[in-house]
């Protein structure tokens, strides 16, 4: 535990060595930007996939009997799409994220020199599976009576989703969605596996140069912590604002 008992002189010396010398702080900043870029793009991809997959899955669950009775191409299409979505969920949720990243980088996009877009796609596709299930749970959590009341007024399935179910589902899933964003942000720290210099890798590179174990890694950890705390605060704000409408 010796290295934890640094005196102040030692601290400033260490700080200078790890962050000031050779402008190593720039590595951290660059790494942070890469982490944020990957997270942001993966988030957008994940939400897009999540919307589509949850829409297919919940539409299938809610309409399969009606559509089966009616027959025709519609049922076959929806049933096929539902099977594809379930396969996607099984594969993505059944394999480790880091393995998926390696497969995307070394096999699927093996021709791409730059790992960053590959990571964006890989993390996006990964997050999409979790977001899809979060959205689906939200849609399923809205009372069936809400759905029936809307249908009884003459709204179709899609209008009912749009005006009644989705607004309530979104409010219900916000905490779980926030949790998924936090997981995603931290999960991008494995991007170093495919040679991307993200925040974690930057800290690790500094450690390798300066042989300081403590400072670069603690700095990296504190930056992640700060990011997550800001995200949590912002989501809490949104949640309170949405809830105010109902009281």
């Amino acid at each position: 535990m010796n290295h934890l008992l640094l005196d102040v002189g030692n601290f400033s010396e260490q700080f200078k060595l790890n962050f000031i010398d050779d402008e190593r702080w720039k590595w951290i900043v660059q790494g942070l930007l890469v982490t944020l870029e990957i997270t942001a793009v993966a988030l957008v991809i994940g939400i897009a996939i999540g919307i589509v997959v949850s829409a297919v899955r919940s539409s299938y669950d809610k309409n399969k009997e009606t559509m089966k009775a009616r027959g025709g191409v519609g049922y076959a299409l929806l049933s096929g799409a539902n099977s594809v979505c379930r396969l996607y969920l099984t594969i993505i949720r059944g394999t480790p994220t880091v393995v998926q990243l390696l497969i995307f980088y070394f096999i699927i996009f093996s021709g791409w020199r730059n790992g960053v877009p590959v990571a964006m796609i890989s993390f996006g596709i990964n997050s999409g599976a979790y977001v899809a299930e979060i959205f689906r749970s939200g849609i399923m959590s809205v009372d069936e009576g809400q759905f029936e009341a809307s249908r009884s007024l003459g709204f179709g399935y899609l209008s009912t989703m749009r005006y009644v179910v989705v607004p309530q589902a979104f409010k219900a899933v916000l905490p779980a969605l926030g949790n998924e964003f936090i997981v995603l942000l931290k999960e991008t720290s494995i991007a170093g596996y495919v040679g991307i210099m993200d925040l974690t890798k930057a800290g690790d590179l500094i450690r390798g140069r300066t042989f300081s174990k403590l400072m670069p890694l603690i700095a990296v950890a504190l930056i992640y912590l700060t990011l997550v705390m800001v995200l949590t605060w912002a989501l809490g704000l949104l949640e309170r604002r949405l809830r105010k409408n109902e009281r």
């Binding site: 009997e65 009606t66 009775a69 009616r70 027959g71 009372d143 009576g145 809400q146 029936e148 009341a149 809307s150 249908r151 009884s152 007024l153 003459g154 709204f155 179709g156 209008s159 005006y163 009644v164 607004p167 309530q168 409010k171 409408n245 109902e246 009281r247």
Partner: protein, 248 residues
């Protein structure tokens, strides 16, 4: 629409669950005429709610035909949404939209489906709220209201679509006793205004007072039907006598 016009007609309606092991409806034939207030009673599990929910196709029948204003509405080629606009429904659990305030609950369907302007829809909604004595609740959310208030608003939400018939699925069963009266009063007023109504209820007083016909169901069939005074005074079938002796 003339009185005595057949508004709803049901022929050989069957609804089976679990491949026929459970027969919720086992051959129901019925006609509902414009201006009638038809009250459906019967023991729980007799199929009365399933029957009512079949009338706007919230339940898909296993067999049989349902006609609304002459159109067979359980035909897959028909756009059921257009017909549902003319069939108002009130639920046991009110089912007001929790994400919308009261005014928007009432104006949503008229604006989106009947293409009324906001001003027009809100004017109609406020008139309806005046009628049930709740104009001051226009900007409240459903969670802020009592059960009785919610149900009265659910009724006018359906009325805002100017339906030709109103279906009531045990509208007072989820209410505290002291709130039953206020909802029944709105329904009575509606009946007096000439609205065609089909009401599943346990309120025998309501059935007797405003019903023009009582259907007694058991085991997925209509066992007896009659004009209320006669039905309650001297039920013809043993089953109806047994049922009435328990509830009256």
């Amino acid at each position: 629409m003339n009185a005595n016009d057949v508004l709803l007609k049901v022929v050989g309606l069957k609804k089976y669950y679990k491949d026929g092991a459970v027969k919720a409806l086992d051959g129901v034939d019925c006609e509902i005429h414009a201006g009638e207030v038809v009250v459906i009673i019967g023991p729980s599990g007799c199929g009365k709610s399933t029957f009512l929910r079949s009338l706007n196709l919230l339940e898909l029948p296993t067999a049989g035909e349902i006609y609304f204003e002459g159109d067979k509405i359980n035909d897959p080629r028909i756009d059921i949404n257009l017909h549902r606009q003319k069939i108002g429904m009130v639920f046991q659990q009110f089912n007001l939209f929790n994400n919308l305030d009261i005014l928007s609950n009432i104006t949503l369907a008229p604006m989106k489906l009947l293409k009324q302007s906001r001003a027009e829809a809100e004017k109609n909604a406020m008139e309806l709220l005046e009628r049930i004595g709740l104009p001051d609740k226009a900007r409240n959310y459903p969670s802020q209201l009592s059960g009785g208030q919610k149900q009265r608003i659910a009724i006018v939400r359906a009325l805002a679509m100017k339906p030709d018939v109103m279906l009531f699925d045990e509208p007072t069963s989820a209410l505290d006793p002291e709130m039953v009266g206020e909802v029944l009063d709105v329904m009575k007023e509606l009946a007096r205004s000439g609205m065609t109504m089909v009401v599943v209820t346990h309120e025998m007083g309501f059935a007797r007072e405003v019903g023009s016909r009582v259907l007694f169901m058991e085991g997925g069939r209509i066992v007896e039907e009659n004009e209320p005074n006669t039905f309650f005074a001297s039920p013809a079938t043993q089953r109806a006598q047994d049922f009435l002796s328990k509830v009256l």
